[in-house]
Amino acid sequence: MHQLQDEGQIVNGGAAGERKDAESKSAKLGRAIVLTSGKGGVGKTTTTANLGTALASRGASVVMIDADVGLRNLDIVLGLESRVKHHLLDVLEERVSVDDALVPGKHGERLFLLAAAQSREKDEVDTPKMQALVASLRERFDYVLIDSPAGIELGFKNAVVGADEAIVVCTPEVAAVRDVDRVVGLLGNRFRPQLIINRLRPQLVRKGKMLSVEDVNAILRLPLLGVIADEPEIIVTTNRGEPLALRATTPTGAAYHAIAARVAGEDVAVPMPPVAKASIFERLGSIFGGKRR
């Protein structure tokens, strides 16, 4: 039952869907931001986890929705995989309430995860219900971050349907930039997409072996939200399920916090990853008498 309603772009706002548990709560709406990229493997999930963590550490209430149905990953990056009992489709199909499915983060009470269903498929998500779910979560949280799957098919459309803003994640590669360009074209102006450049290697840029931030954005021409270096510590923290944003003192952790500040509307500069003279291994090598790896 593929029902790609409209091929060209995502029209939003028509089908309001039924709002279940949210008559009484009104006040101000939170922001629903989709993180997307077109291409897979550029770091959408890691970015979502870190942005959510950084926003929560600023005092905001955050819920992260893993919209990558069938390939659940956000729980792993956040270190919450053992605590997931129910998933997005359980909620959309009304088997459990949202509150039963929300997994609190390990650090602080303001961060929650709604995991994707691992054993289901993307086209099983009911688009209007997804939209209604995001709308209801916006009434309870300051931020609803939606981690989109790769691609521009139904999974992407379902991830985008409830959002009103987009953050596109791009690596400095030809294929990634091309895909982001396509996604931005599909999103249109309504989502006011902003750009995070991920996995930048300043040394390679300096040597002319990698596209620079300027190169990428000369083409994409999007508001730059942040630049994240390709750091080994990201791999290490992902191994442990502890987002790097928990360590705000590291350069990359600080970069995530700067992104969070900019998302929150603060006028802070985009920190550029420093160009190290020599890598950490080279420096260690020289300290320990030339024991190189």
């Binding site: 396509r182 002319g208 083409i219």
Partner: protein
Amino acid sequence: MIEFLKRLFRQQSSSATAKERLRLVLMTDHLELAPEMIEKMKHDLVDLISRYVEVDRERIDVTFERQDATLAMLANIPILSVNRPNGNGAHKERPEPVAEPRPAEAVASLAPPAQADSKPRVRKRKRRKKASSTRSSSPSPA
């Protein structure tokens, strides 16, 4: 030519190559994603050329071709007739085919429209040098 020699003697950095490839691929993508823009451009192009010569609107062919470092637009526009050199026919929206009534001198049209295949053709080549990453060309909302 200079470009070619430069490339021959100096190895381009891989990031410069990436930039170049990206620029070209996006131009091609944007064109592919905007068939209605190409239609409109074709139309405007024909309107412009029709001010000077009469062309066969039905058989205009516009294609895009990648040629090493650039994207070229190739327009194949069959000409039905050419207006008189005194410029009377210029700036007409659509000149009448074959014999135009006003001036008496018989500078007849180059060929009757019936044998359109053997017409002289305008071959337009536009080279696009600068990156024009206009997003307006991708299908964005109305």
